[in-house]
């Protein structure tokens, strides 16, 4: 089956990627100046206290031994203990990851729902007014720094007109729904908590849109380019020559093929989304992985940083797997062979 042929190598690859990333992050964490024990114990701690902290963290053992222990724990899903929160890093990630995934999913949804139709219209009415607007919008999206755009939106919609909230996931005073998926929008609905749903929705609009905007530009541009290619193809001429309706030609006959080269780009966009999320979360005080990792970096919380890096790289490999599966769905030539 084609599907196992695609999945199995990716899973094997995943193992190697995780190991490789672990080696790299571990090495870097030991090369970077800065003493985690000092960070924890504080500036005024005595030499004895420092020594104690070191021993507790296992920092007094030989580097190779530290690494073996780290990898061993890693394979059991133990990412170590955060120096800052004193909780297992894995638990921290479980707390913060859903917020990021929710933001990313909403952003991707917005980016695709706006970007694809805009790209299609832009190609079909090439050089017309719609095309001009779409091209301007996508250039803006691609070239406008996330933090700048974010701050503008916060200024306009929150500070100036107070239409939408500018920070956090829920309004003050609203109790978060019980955690099921960790996605507030879903959990609140599952529990019939419409007040929480409303609040969560309002809160995700601005950061979701900011994060979507850059990717929307990329998607629009890609869809436009591949639609222009496809519309030149002989099979589109055949469809026109046999009288199929315009809508059918554009969406069933052209877009279907234009999506295939766009899938890779969508995978890349997902990667960008992860990166953009870090910035967006910081601006909107969104309690997700971005905020978590930025704080961890500021406090030299190595276990947390390493944990984040490993989760992010697993994310990248999984995205690539998704891309391959999407290819298979879209292109019969890959699926059927």
């Amino acid at each position: 089956m084609a599907i196992t042929r695609i999945i199995v190598p990716r899973l094997i690859l995943l193992l190697f990627v995780v190991l490789g990333v672990a080696v790299i992050t571990f090495t870097i964490s030991h090369l970077i100046p800065g003493d985690p024990a000092r960070m924890i114990a504080g500036d005024r701690a005595s030499a004895e206290t420092l020594e104690n902290v070191r021993r507790n963290l296992g920092l007094d053992r030989p580097v190779v031994e530290q690494f073996t222990i780290y990898i061993g724990n890693l394979l059991q899903g133990d990412l170590g203990t955060s120096l800052r929160t004193n909780r297992p890093v894995a638990a921290d990630i479980r707390t913060f990851l859903p917020a990021t995934l929710e933001l990313g999913t909403v952003a991707l949804f917005i980016a695709i729902c706006l970007g694809v139709p805009l790209g299609v219209l832009s190609a079909v009415y090439k050089d017309g007014p719609i095309d001009q607007i779409a091209r301007t919008v996508s250039v803006c999206g691609i070239s406008m720094p996330v933090f700048w755009f974010g701050l503008i939106l916060i200024y306009v919609f929150y500070a100036k007109f107070q239409i939408l909230p500018g920070s956090g996931r829920l309004a003050m005073g609203i109790v978060a729904p019980e955690r099921i998926t960790g996605f507030l929008l879903i959990d609140s609905l599952l529990q019939g908590r419409f007040d929480a749903f409303r609040s969560a929705l309002y809160h995700i609009i601005l950061p979701g849109f900011v994060l979507a905007f850059a990717n929307m530009g990329v998607i629009t541009r890609q869809i436009r380019a591949s639609m222009l290619d496809v519309l030149q193809e002989d099979y589109i001429r055949t469809a026109r020559a046999s009288g199929l309706r315009k809508g059918m030609i554009i969406f069933n006959y052209a877009l279907r093929n234009a999506l295939i080269p766009s899938i890779t780009l969508l995978g890349l966009a997902l990667g960008d989304l992860l990166y953009g999320a870090v910035l967006t979360e910081t601006i909107f005080a969104w309690p997700g992985m971005g905020t978590y990792v930025v704080t961890s970096i500021q406090t030299l919380d190595f276990p947390a940083i390493m944990g984040f890096t490993i989760v992010a790289s697993i994310g990248y490999v999984l995205i690539n797997l998704l891309v391959d599966l999407a290819y298979m769905l879209a292109d019969p030539q890959i699926r059927e062979v």
Binding site: Y235, R237, R240, R245, R256, N257, D331, P332, Q333, E336
Partner: protein, 341 residues
């Protein structure tokens, strides 16, 4: 050849009258068609021949509204396709005609079918677009017509994607698609040029047979006279956007009167004695940005005289055979076996 009113008095499938058309480009207007008149009767099979770039495709694509929007300009003439003035129709009106009244089969079958849609769906999409039938009936119609194109196991083929078929099979599918809604006219634009020689004859016969059986008019377009000569009732010879000779196939082949037609015929392998060198027409089709004055063939013509340089010859002659040449009929020096094939 009066075609006033909506009724077609002589039962014409297609009547192109004095059509002139150009493509505006940065370096000037490409005068692709100059005063082209072509008529195709109902159930008639007509050929258009001429070297590549002579305007054969542009002629028929203009008539069916398939030229790229806004990139060309009709500078004169009329087109009537079963009574419809296609030149003044909008896109959605044309879409109603295409596939139903007129179908086109193009040259390159490799990429003419959608790579991500199964053959069956591509056929039924067209059938359901034009006929009042449901999916089951559409599939049945598609199956029957594929079988008629000598495709074994049509049910299986309908479940395949284009990349799983050979070029010849794809072209059969495209022909089936063209015939699927019983159009009155089929335009076969170099339908076999990209195919293996052994497949060519079979494919052409498929088109011809079905057209004869169903009373469908056909325009065969080819740069190769040999390909169309045995299929067509009448022939048009095109050169540089003009019709230079037309008449009954037999007449044109046996007594070609235009030096260009004669040159085309001399290029045929069948016309050349075994040991003799195959002749190509020296020179090239003129640049239509700046066509020569007078007769467009004059720079390549062995028979040219002074008058050819300054004055454009018009089509003249009895309806049986019309020729645009100041020295029509000179030097029909074809080898012996010519014409009797």
């Amino acid at each position: 050849m009066m075609t006033t009113g909506t009724a077609e008095p002589r039962g014409q499938a297609l009547a192109i009258n004095n059509l002139s058309l150009e493509f505006p480009t940065f370096s000037g207007a490409v005068k692709a068609l100059d005063d082209v008149s072509i008529s195709v009767g109902k159930a008639e099979i007509v050929g258009i021949v001429g070297e590549s770039g002579c305007g054969k495709s542009v002629t028929t694509m203009a008539a069916t509204g398939l030229l790229p929007k806004g990139r060309y300009r009709v500078t004169g003439g009329t087109v009537r396709l079963f009574g419809h003035s296609t030149l003044s129709m909008d896109d959605s009106q044309l879409q109603d005609l295409r596939g139903k009244v007129v179908s086109t089969i193009f040259q390159e079958p490799m990429n003419a079918l959608n790579p991500t849609i199964r053959i069956g769906r591509q056929l039924t999409d067209v059938i359901m677009r034009h006929e009042e039938v449901g999916p089951a009936d559409a599939r049945r119609i598609a199956r029957d017509i594929l079988a008629d194109m000598l495709i074994g196991e049509p049910e299986r083929v309908m479940n395949l994607y284009p990349f799983e078929l050979s070029g010849g099979m794809r072209q059969r599918v495209l022909i089936a698609m063209a015939f699927s809604c019983n159009p009155g006219l089929i335009i076969a634009d170099e339908p076999t040029t990209a195919l293996d020689v052994t497949v060519q004859a079979v494919i052409l016969r498929l088109i011809q047979n079905r057209a004869r059986r169903t009373g469908t008019a056909v325009i065969f377009i080819s740069h190769n006279v040999a390909v169309v000569s045995q299929l067509c009732d009448r022939l048009y010879v095109m050169y540089a956007g003009r019709i230079v000779e037309h008449g009954a196939t037999r007449t044109v082949l046996e007594t070609p009167q235009h030096p260009y037609t004669q040159a085309l015929l001399r290029c045929l392998p069948e016309r050349v004695a075994p040991k003799q060198e195959l002749e190509a027409i020296p020179g090239a089709v003129p640049n239509l940005l700046q066509p020569p004055s007078g007769c467009y063939f004059q720079p390549r013509c062995k028979e040219a005289v002074e008058q050819c340089r300054s004055q454009t010859p018009q089509l003249t002659g009895a309806d049986g055979q019309q020729v645009a040449c100041w020295r029509r009929g000179v030097a029909v020096e074809l080898p012996e076996q010519g014409g009797r094939r």
